[in-house]
Symmetry: D2
Subunit: 355 residues, 4 copies
């Protein structure tokens, strides 16, 4: 139980369901003296919010951030941040039809199996809306990372069967797919719209690059940097896999190919993805995550109801035909939260060489 918290020193706890009064997060462990305003957080929140383009859901949420505690005269005080967002565009009655149905690909069945009760309105706690709190916390984490010269950049690498063939960080926020290649982005959008029109959805691959991390972050043997990142990223509902550096391709490589050699300047390659033995190498940290196609589709599907009777279902509602562009800021947030926590754990060793 108590699965709604994450982190050791920089620790977040989220609450909230899709169609209840609101969602939010407590961020405990923020060092005092950090300049922080609601607007700082709002900027990240706006990247995640629905209704941004034709490849995302038309649900309208202002996603207005309210900081209830932890900031005084523009600076964090070292006490927990309490952050709330009220739900607005709630249409719980839109979900009356599915009250007793298990939507394929959704957590309806498993939540009922686990808890014996289920808030069916818009997936309840299993909704992507829960991630708003994570993005708010991630915005704070990013400020801590910026102080340390670290930046986190995620983007759509592949979607709807189309891969980016170039990498230009400047274009990511300028196309609705948040892809790193503008040409591929256009093709992706076209394909997503095509499938969206027939009520279907697509998946994709998000890549994340973290720059500026010094060598030495990560807490072996269980809280290794890659293990914690995997935990954080797999805690996102739509993610089905993660790989670092060369990733699954390593399975077909020889040691002599995969090992990253060094010379006096540093490493000569980065098959490891910036992590060795669970500790950062000082290189760019690179991972990719597999994002499944959105489960809510209007294609007719087979399912059953809570009494075990077979039914057909068409998931109406306002859904993202491709969740990739909205998952990008969430993934950045989770990566930033892991790193902020790891920095503090490492910095707690302060006197290491002063025995």
């Amino acid at each position: 139980m108590s699965g709604s918290s994450f982190g050791t020193l920089f620790r977040i706890s989220t609450f909230g369901e899709s169609h209840g009064p609101g969602v939010g997060v407590i961020v405990d462990g923020v060092p005092p003296g950090l300049p922080l305003s609601e607007e700082d957080i709002q900027l990240e929140m706006n990247r995640r919010k629905p209704g941004q383009s034709e490849v995302t859901t038309p649900r309208q949420e202002s996603d207005r951030v309210h900081i209830l505690s932890g900031v005084f005269e523009g600076l964090t005080t070292g006490t927990p941040l309490g952050i709330v967002l009220y739900n607005q565009d709630m249409r719980p009655s839109a979900y009356d039809d599915i009250r007793e149905l298990f939507r394929p690909g959704h957590a309806d069945f498993t939540y009922l199996a686990k808890y014996g009760i289920r808030d069916h309105r818009g997936s309840g706690r299993a909704s992507g809306r829960e991630t708003a709190g994570r993005v708010a916390a991630g915005a704070v984490a990013k400020k801590l990372l910026a102080q340390r010269g670290v930046s986190v950049t995620a983007y759509t690498l592949r979607a709807a069967g189309i891969s980016c063939e170039s990498f230009d960080p400047a274009v990511i926020e300028k196309n609705p797919m948040r892809a790193c290649d503008p040409v591929a982005a256009e093709k992706m959008v076209a394909r997503v719209k095509e499938l969206s029109e027939i009520g279907d959805s697509v998946g994709g691959i998000i890549e994340c690059r973290i720059q500026g991390v010094p060598a030495g972050l990560g807490e072996p043997v269980f809280d290794k940097l890659d293990a914690e990142l995997a935990h954080a990223i797999l805690s996102l509902g739509a993610v089905k896999g993660i790989e670092f550096g060369s990733g699954f391709a390593c399975a077909d490589m020889r040691g002599s190919e995969h090992n990253d050699w060094m010379d006096s300047e540093g490493f000569l390659s980065n098959n490891a993805g910036g992590v060795l033995g669970g500790i950062s190498t000082g290189q760019e940290i690179v991972f990719r995550a597999a994002v499944k196609p959105t489960s809510s589709i209007t294609v007719k599907q087979k399912t059953r109801n809570i009494r075990g009777e077979e039914r057909e279902i068409v998931t109406e509602g306002r859904h993202d035909p491709c969740i990739c562009p909205r998952i990008v800021p969430v993934m950045e947030a989770m990566a930033a939260i892991v790193l902020a926590d790891q920095f503090m754990r490492q910095e707690a060793r302060g006197r290491k060489n002063q025995a």
Copy 2:
């Protein structure tokens, strides 16, 4: 800090370095009344131990398990198990040559960067030897799972570029690769020996299937079943990726393909890999992990020493040309530990429908 513990209710803490006096584990949270002997644990330990075949390291370790506490008259008492294994076939002087060198692919550089000090003997804490404690704890977890009708089976699915094309659980423990296809296993062994002779190594993919898990395990939103498994599996030094069910292939699927439909009997497919919304569906749980080629090779490589000077290195010593067969029991152990913990967390909700 304190990264050497894992789990919430079924909680393990490991200690030990490769060439120090010994390694071990404390397992806290084991329910009382479980029959347990050193022999129960030894059986799993023997599957992990070195020197089993020509595709693994010739290092000889009896890996004799000593239970120092927590068992009385053949039953667990509910108090922590203290388990120790003494190191025997230690040859620290064999590592004198690399005292000041960073071996490519190893954690030598990162441990020194992190701690400012490094036990260079056989990788120290970063050695695979640390996993002996995990396997001991996993043996206990497996007993708890057996009480609940759950079994965990891992095996080599691909290695040295060769994939299994059939699945026969009966053959896994009968071939040195722990592959699920005896024909593929033979080819793998041949290829591994070939590469081993020229001092190189290979990677592979391990698949893990968990049967008998009822619907309802997993603790959203951060301690989801797949997130915890990812954390556990990525905490193994050689693992560079994990995927569930269809895994990375989901990126190219449509929602109408990937969604697992249901009828009155249950699910009609298992693209999800047995986990929806981070909670078990009652189906088989399936994941795959990418294992990098062993870093220790005798091929000559470029590196530098602790003073930043360029050097060449040939990693002598006793190493596994392919670590896959020895990682199989470790991966099973980690999966079993996650499941035992999740069972207890779920069972703590005992009265759920009795309000």
Copy 3:
């Protein structure tokens, strides 16, 4: 860091400062299916709120409880409760005078020393107002305990130098001191008013009795029932000591006096206070806590300002001349939270005899 959470399975995280926008709590780990309304929580909140009598502060707070998540159609869902209370009767400017002064007995000096920054308005995070979130969480814990036949009753045992000489639980909520003896209560009120008029304050002793706890709660060796209760109770700002059963008097007893004998019916005495070896005995659990006199007084005191200059101070504002009656519900809440957590930890052992 991250000191704002408490509990393992029934886990609370509070946020909020005295004169910020609001205070609140996340309660994670509440089993699903528990009937819960805002009114259930409000009842406990009203016992803690200011302005109840002439022995407490005249600050007016409606302390209106808002549940933002975790309840659906009148039942808990197993997901975290998000609970918020907005601050209303804020007069931050009333604190302008003390912006640079350290009030004796308050945490002004230590917060500034720790964080390098201090929200001086009404003690900020160190205010008793933070305990509103604890009382909300405690109301939920009490419902879980009621399901198990457990009740928690605290009361003022001594205040202003006057001790209760009888114990009648029926009178506790009927006198402004929440004392267990109505005659003593009257004397206490008279004395408190007398001292209040000269601007001074008084301390006291709260006793807490917990009935209905079966033998077996407590998690040796560190999370013993009494150790966790001590942690919880000492986390209240005004508490300076705790003792169980015979308490400090045990120091002068012989083993033959202190040991609680048993016969076939059970224990013949309860010097232990219902806890042996950190585990409940099945008897009433009894502890007492020392509550210091309220620090805010209008008697002129010596202090210094943030620049180290000597100053005199008279703490104006709206304060409780004796905090005992308002601490009673908070102490009950903390005890209930510890017990709810310990019940779940024990119940997670479900199958203990079914090996």
Copy 4:
């Protein structure tokens, strides 16, 4: 469950029963580079070990410390310390008579109620022997504190009804009671021997003073310095109460008496015991703990057996007529562990004023 670990960053996990093969501890989170030998730990262990004088048990244990990991070439490496002590003077058969009896004042009844099974040999896990691991960990914590100029001194303040009337730290280790007043010590010894001869035992009060702690340690609102110390000290089986500074006497004080005034030099008194709002003030930290009389006495007592039948019992065996002198080093160890952890948690805020 999992109650055998303590601490957040400096984290200890103990294992072991009184008459099993051994006891021990893992200390995780020790910063690298700290000089540490088995001898450093042995010195503290010898202060706790049995057989030191006629007021303690004659059980003979060499209590030889074995460090299995975490130290390399005389320095800690940042990896977990694994420390083991083997039990030697085990006489499990001495406990055959009490196999089915509940010894008054012992945890026999509660352990059986909790776990449904009980290692009856010398109290099993509930034995004071478990604290050997704590003392080992405390020795490491003390070294970290020494680096920061902090010392922890505990001593017997009162025992057998006799109070110390002077305080001389130099005499503490020179008298068998570890009292701070040599005259009182002599009287205590005489009285303890007198009672010991008639098979009875006595309790006492231990006082602990911690010097050199800067202002700013403690993690509100739940992990306050005093709350954590209370948790740690109440986790010792014989302790029934704790108080800070003026302690329970505060109940009878007025605010104008209890508040510690400041001038430009600092505080003018220390009624708070060095902690305000859960954070250290920079003054000496002072607390006292009530220690119950040893439960094992040879006076004939009433009890029952596991079948509920009334019995008489005389607890033979080798016991301490007054446990105070042996609890002194254990209490110092627990206080040192709390402080080491709090230092690291505070130091993790490193950049606090560098926003």
